[in-house]
Structures are given as C-alpha cells and as structure tokens.
Symmetry: C2
Subunit: 531 residues, 2 copies
C-alpha cells in the first residue's frame, strides 16, 4: 500500500467525513445508493461547510513562546472537532458538530509537547491528543465544560522515521507518522511494520499505539501491542522512556500501561517498533460455504492449526453480497498466506483442505488461485467502504459498524443475537427493514473478532440519537455474551458505558490512581477511560 499513495498533506482532507474530500461520492452516487434503501431521503443532505458553523474566538491564548505552534484558524479547529464515526458525520451534516476546540497545536518535537502540557496544566486547558483523527469512538473530541478551554494536540508534524536498526529489525519512529509515510520511509530498508488497519492512509503510529489498533492481518501480531519494543511518553509528571527490549519479565510491563491509554495518561511521542522483512511469497484463495455455522467451524479449525494465515476473513452472505464478492447466499472465506522466506503454497493447500473438509467450495469468486476475484473485490470494497458510509449518511440512512471479540463458545450465539436484536431494533425505530451483516476480521485459537455492519433507513434529523439507541441495544447484547466492547477501535467516549461494565472494578480503581498520579490536573483527554 505504502508508496503508491500520495502523501496526505498534498490532497485536501474532508473536515466532516472520511479521508480525502475529492474521494467522496457525488450527489448522484449518493442518490443512487439511497434508492437501494427504502425510507431514505429523496436527495442528499448538502456537504456541510465550515463557514456555516458559528465558531467563536478561542477561550485561551497561548503564551508568546508557544504561539508559533498554535493556531486558532476556524477551518483547522473545525477539522479537529471530532473523529470519523457515523455519529460524528451526521452531527457535522446537521451543523451540530461536537465542541470545536479553541486551539490546535502542532508540536514539532517532544520538548514542544512538554511545554504545551505545562502551559495547559497551568491554565485548566483540556488537551485532546490527535493523530490522524480517524477515531470512530469519540476519542478525539471534548465533551462537558469542566475546563476553561480545549486544545487539540495534533502530532502530525512529528512524522519521521528517526532511526532504523535493520540488523535487529526495528525502527524508532515519531508518533505522528501516518501509515503511508511510515512505510515509505521503511521501504528502502526492505522492512515493513506490516500494520495495515482500514484507516491506514489517515491514522498514525501514535494513534495506533494509544488505541491498541488492530491491523489487517488475521493472525499473529493482530494488534500493534506486540510490535511495540519501547515507548517515549510525555506525561504531566515527566517523560516516560522504556528500554528497547525484545522481551522482559521485570515487573508489570510499563509499555502495556500506556498502550491503550488513549491519551489519558500521557502523549506518546515516539516508539521503537518491531519490523519484518517485506513478504516475497504470497498465495490466496477463497471458499464459499452454504451455511455460516460450517464456515465458522472451518475458520476455527484453521485458527487452531499451526498454519497462521495472514488473512482468514469470513464474510457472511450479506457482507459478501454488499462488498460485491458473491451474491448467491453463500458465506465466503478469504484466505491468504505471506512469507519473506519460502513459498507458501503448501500452507495454502493445507488451509484449503481444512476448509473443504468443513464444506467449503474453492474459488468462491471465480477465477484462479493467485488472482482470485473474490480477494480483489473484497480489498477494493474494504478501502471504499468508509466513503460509501458517508454517502449513505447524506441520504439520511444509518450506516455504521462496530466490532468485538469473544471466545469460540460464545461466537455463534453472539452473532445470531446481534443480527436479530440490533436488526429488530433498527427496523422498529426506523419503520423499515434493516440489514445487519457480519464478518470475522481476526481469528485466534481461542476465539474470533466479529465485525458488524448496520444498514437501515434513518430517522431524518435525528440520526445521532437514533444511533445511540441502536448502540445501547448492541452494547447490551455484547455484555450479555461477555464479548469485549471493542477488539480494535478503542473505547473513546462512545464505548465508555460498555467499558465501565466490562473492566474489573479493582482495575478501574487502579487506573484512576494512575491517572491522578500522572495527570494530577486532569487535563489529558478528559472523559476517556476514567473520570
């Protein structure tokens, strides 16, 4: 992916929706999509404009020593007001975005971050760390009014690979480096971080680490957690710098406390991360299954083998149809193997044989193995999906996703319950039939990560509240099945109620204690994870 993509800076980003402004579906495309869903608007809501927002002057001014790092430009502030969840998009479409930050800072290095936190701490200014801004869980906005002002701390000027240890397969990288720039700088070394979340083009290393992001690969290092070798984190109580170590047993892992802390305990400024050689051998295939349960069994068998596929993505019939992979009611399993060392055809053969033994029919998308059309169709739909969601939102539709993970014993009933209960709730509140599709994005020997897509006519004018209602139903189902509130999208503000129910109470106590110790004035990303 890297290197083939233009640098984000060279192409205007959408302030209100996903990705690049010029990649959004136009009005005609939106209308065509809307026509497929009964109950949507007759024509798309207009693309919202920053100049229509009432953005007042900032409630704080930086000291002269920091003025060069800080802007109060309304367009920049509006673009930093929210992440990119459906709920953010519809709030922007309705001209009611979240609280616009007073200021946006672009630190150039760690000392700038230290200075900005010092100043914010002295002035009761909330600091919201901001990487690529691709949060889909309300992770980068401010809610409430307990602070005198809000500063969005945008790390993207810190976008360099500072050091590469090719001998030891690791690199020291600044936290604000977006995916494409990161891979581009590693490419000359023949190395890759191999972390490709759906947000890859727009999200940053620091954001991945702060949110325990999940990459594209189905097994192995699914989360960024395992790629972190060491961290530098600026906390209001000092800079935390862990040692570069391949492994350690010295007390609870310091890095694991900051990984997933979502900007509440400190600002990650750089990390040494583990790299791998760029793969030279690849093979992929797809299989169709008549029944979803049989496909689940096949996936479990593969996940419990020693095959470790790079991809093992199971689409249910609805998801396969929606992404243009296959529309005959079959579930589709997309398998892929990669290696820098040796051909992987033998591994693919074994995985395909396992899937066939559970009723899988090879060549789900037609075509031969390496160029299986199902694989290509899926990849293209995958990258286009967030843009289409925004188009559907403009048609007044509900189009959102959420993801989870559970042990294998819980997975089938969980998926059934989400489909039926969230589907029924959506039909009830919108008055139209709703679609709830499922795919498995990551698989483990002991469980899997189901990812759900909800598509329904909306309740025009009331989109955010409608989603909140559906989400409450979804959260209840997840909780009842002991499925995590998030496998790789982070908690943010939107998942907070589910998170509070999930985490052990003594751990909540511990986290509050850590928060008080490291951020005694409570300026860092208030409302996320702890109060």
């Amino acid at each position: 992916m890297a290197g083939t993509t233009a640098q984000p800076s060279s192409r205007p980003r959408s302030w209100w929706g996903w990705g690049y402004a010029d990649a959004h579906p136009d009005d005609a495309e939106c209308a065509a999509m809307g026509a497929l869903l009964p109950g949507t608007l007759p024509r798309p809501l207009p693309v919202p404009r920053v100049r229509d927002l009432r953005i007042g002057g900032p409630a704080a001014e930086p000291p002269a020593s920091l003025a060069h790092l800080v802007t109060a430009d309304p367009a920049v502030r509006a673009a930093h007001a929210m992440g990119k969840a459906y709920r953010d998009v519809v709030r922007a479409l309705r001209g009611r975005p979240g609280r616009i930050p007073d200021l946006v800072a672009h630190p150039a290095g760690e000392q700038d971050v230290v200075d900005l936190l010092d100043w914010a701490g002295s002035r009761r200014i909330a600091v919201v760390p901001y990487g690529g801004g691709s949060s889909v869980t309300g992770g980068v906005e401010y809610r409430g009014d307990a602070h005198d002002a809000v500063l969005s701390l945008d790390l993207t000027r810190m976008d360099r690979v500072l050091e590469v240890d090719a001998h030891g397969r690791a690199a020291r990288i600044q936290a604000g480096t977006p995916g494409p720039a990161l891979e581009q700088q590693l490419r000359p070394h023949g190395l890759t971080l191999r972390h490709f979340p759906q947000s890859f083009e727009f999200s940053t290393l620091g954001g991945w680490i702060a949110t325990r992001a999940g990459g594209h690969y189905a097994t192995g290092r699914t989360h960024i957690d395992d790629s972190v070798q060491s961290l530098r984190v600026v906390t209001p109580a000092g800079v935390s710098a862990s040692w570069r170590l391949p492994a350690s047993g010295a007390g609870p892992s310091p890095d694991r406390l900051f990984i997933g802390s979502e900007g509440t305990l400190g600002v990650i400024t750089e990390a040494w991360v583990r790299l791998v050689e760029r793969p030279r051998h690849k093979a992929s295939a797809s299989l169709a299954f008549t029944g979803f349960r049989a496909a689940l069994d096949a996936v479990r068998a593969i996940a419990q083998s020693d095959l470790r596929p790079a991809n093992c993505r199971l689409l249910d019939a609805g998801e396969a149809a929606l992404s243009g992979v296959r529309a005959d009611g079959s579930a589709v399993l997309v398998l892929g193997f990669e290696s820098a060392d040796a051909p992987v055809d033998g591994l693919l053969d074994r995985a395909v044989a396992l899937a066939r033994s559970h009723g899988g029919r090879p060549g789900a998308g037609g075509g031969g193995r390496a160029g299986d059309a199902a694989v290509a169709a899926w990849r293209s739909a995958f990258l286009r999906m967030p843009y289409l969601r925004d188009g559907l939102a403009r048609m007044g539709a509900v189009a959102e996703t959420f993801e989870t993970a559970a042990t294998w014993d819980a997975v089938p009933a969980l998926i059934d319950a989400v489909r039926s209960e969230v589907g029924a709730a959506a039909a009830k509140v919108t008055g139209y039939p709703a679609t709830v599709n499922c795919r498995l994005t990551h698989v483990y020997p002991d469980g899997a990560a189901p990812y759900f897509t909800v598509l329904a006519a909306g309740r025009p004018g009331d989109e955010a509240a409608l989603w909140d209602d559906l989400k409450a139903v979804a959260d209840e189902v997840l909780h009842r099945h002991r499925a995590t509130i998030t496998h790789h999208h982070a908690v943010g503000r939107d998942h907070r109620p589910g998170y509070d129910l999930q985490r052990p109470e003594p751990f909540a106590l511990a986290l509050r204690a850590v928060k008080s110790a490291l951020d005694p004035r409570g300026i860092l990303n208030p409302g996320v994870l702890v109060d």
Copy 2:
C-alpha cells in the same frame, strides 16, 4: 514431562535446597564436584537441619474462624522462609536463613484468601504469597521489620483444573496447581499448556503468572503472559475478575497489570489459560560452531525467519562442556521443532541449512537427527543443574545463574562484558580462576535472552555477601548495555536495585499509585517492586 513425574506431595521436599530431598548429591558426590574447583572446602558443609534453627513462637495468632487454614509448625515455617536462589541455599547452609514467617496459611479457595487478607490487613501482618517456592530472586521471603508478623500464603491446596473448554482450547485452573498436576489433568483432553520452565516440577501456575515466567520454548509464547486469557485476583480492595477474551482493545489490558505484579497488588487465585494440542510431530538436531559470533549470527537468522523453532538454544563452549554435550571448544546450537498438525522435518531442514550457511556443523553431539545425543545430554543436564548447584554450595563454591535479554545490537558486547567483568570480579574476590558460561535460552527477531552461569571457588563463611558483590558487578554491566534485569526470573528482592534503575520514573509513580489504591495497608509482599 507431566504424568511421568511423581506428585510433589508424595515425596519429601528439601526445606533448604532445590527440589526433592532425596535427589540431592550425597557427600561423596559433592566432594567429587568440589575437587574439580580449586579453592573449595575439603569436605561438604553439613545438610542443615530445621531443629538447629532457633524458631520462636509466632508473633500473631489467627482468629478461630481461620485457625484451620493456618499452621505454626516450625518445619513448615522454615520451608517457607525463602526461595531457592544460591543466596538462599548458602544462608540456610550457614544457619542464617531469612526471616522465618510466623505462620503459614493453606487456603482451600478464593474466599479463604479474601478472609486471610482481611485479617492480615486488620492486624498489620505482612502477607507473602507462595506457590512452589522456587523463586530465585528473593520473591517469597520477608525482609525488614515494618510489620507485626509475617504470614506465608501457600496456594498449593488450590491445585485443580476446574474447567476445560476443549472446543476453545482453554482451561480454568487454580493458581496453586504445580506444573505436573496441571499437565496431568489436561492430558486426558489431548491438550497442554506447554509451559515448561526449568522449575516445572515445583512451580505453580499462579507463580508463573505473578512472575511473568518463561517456559522452555525458544520462540512463540516464551512467557506465560501470552497464555493468560483471564484472571481472578484477590486484592485488599476487592476481587478483580477479567473477562475471558481471545483479544481486546478496551483500554490498557487489566491482566497485564497483574501479570508480573509478584504478589504486590493481589493474590492470583485462578486463571483461564490458552492451551494447545499435544504435539505429534517432532524433530531436533544440533550443530557445532567454531566461533561464538558465527553461532550468534546463525541464531539471529533463524529467529528472524518464519521458522519459529520450539527450541533454539545456543550453548557457548564452556556451557557445552559443563553440560556434557561437547568438550572440544565448540559452541553448540540445539534446534527442535514440534507440531500437532504436520511433519516438521522440512522446517528443521531449512533451519539446519541456515545454520550451516553460518558455519554450523551438523551432528554436534554425534548420532543421528532425531536421537541426537547432544539434545539428550542437554536435557538431562538441564534438569539436574539446580541440584548440582546446591552440592557445589555445600563445597563452599559460588554456583549461581542469572539471565537477561537485549536487542541484537547489544547482545555480543553484553555477553563479552559479563564474561570478562564478572569473571574478573569473581577471580579477584575468591583468589581463584572463575568460570562464566553463557547460553541463549530464548530468541526473538529483535534480540535474545542470554543466561549466565557463574562457577568459582567461594569465600567460605561469607558466601551470601560474596554473591552480592558479584551481582552488583553483573547488574552494572547489564545496566550499561540496557539489558533487562530479568527476562523470566522476576524481580523479587534481589533484582530490585537494577529494576529501579530500569523502569521509567513515571511508571514507578504509577505503580506506587496502584499499590496504594489496591493495597492501602501495604501488607502484600512488602519490598517487592514498590515500597
């Protein structure tokens, strides 16, 4: 290993040294070993007897409701006074063991643990959680006098596999279950935890988790950390129970805070752990190398491939000779592969080819592949080693090990520096030549875990202080090379100075805050990790 070993309870354990009392070398064997090391004693120190210790009455008495769980028997108390480091053995041999706990409790379940902690908290009684007692870092003794009494909390009555989820490859297991009993209960299900530390016969699941123990396998799940699916932990502030999840991105991992907390934040009572199928296919081989640097390069190449050997253990020439593998000055690499699914000969061939390309000569120990004598010799020496250490200690010799991990760029100079500086220090303080051997026990794409053995004549009567002097030299070398104070033996009390230098200061702040929140009276394993 499991199932072929007698249950620990059926055979008397040594109160002062490693393992079973009847497995220790006798006086003649000790003398023969001592004769190989100039400067040792003419005859072994006598085996120490509990009745020669002055053990007073306990400083506290349990309430009637807990009396059935608690003993003040002097032999039991003496056996719980210390772990099994060289420093512990020599203190026992000299009749000066660590502080004898006043009482030893054997809770039968979680509620007993809750009740015992409640009582201890109300009476300023220090609680030292105790599993198999195999700590080699001073993790299970009490030092200081800030408490009114000391209670050793022995979890080994909680030794059952409570539930097996064969479908999802996991089991719920009580924390006090020792390795052999754990594997014996899993065997009928065809499953194994596959965690075989050198202490396997005598250590427990809870101890492994509390100390981030490392198993026998060189790659993959080297540490118990990755096998933990969920935990139950009794803290003075309440019981922490995390959900069974294959993976999650919901905030910092609650389990990772307790994994490695060494009994300072709570008492682990049970865990769901991830299992694997018992391997059906195995292959192993060994290779000799003329130079250690070439062998390091071979190991790095294998660790950075996608081969993932079960064993990849590199012995330097001294270690190869000491363990009876090969005595011609060659370094020896022992390679092993395992799978439950498919033959592994192809993987072994590729690994051997990689090693040969770096100068490795196959068949280091003579003999054919599967039955390579070097592999067998190593395994047998590995399990016998702690007993021989105790025999050497009886001869007044210094015989101890320590281990670490570092990135590949640091490994060669680190090993050279430990060999020369610790060797020189040992020679200087004892007046005799010293041996410092090295092996790599675990390997990673980004580094390795060197394990050192120090053998020298002692300074009779002053063994513990002598070791403390050598350890200070070792710690300084590790710190200078940014090598962790422990890769898999935990911090305990002995590694505390090195740990304090290693951990980031904001993390120390965070850990102290967590300690205050979860253990406000400071009764849990005082002095370990935090003050």
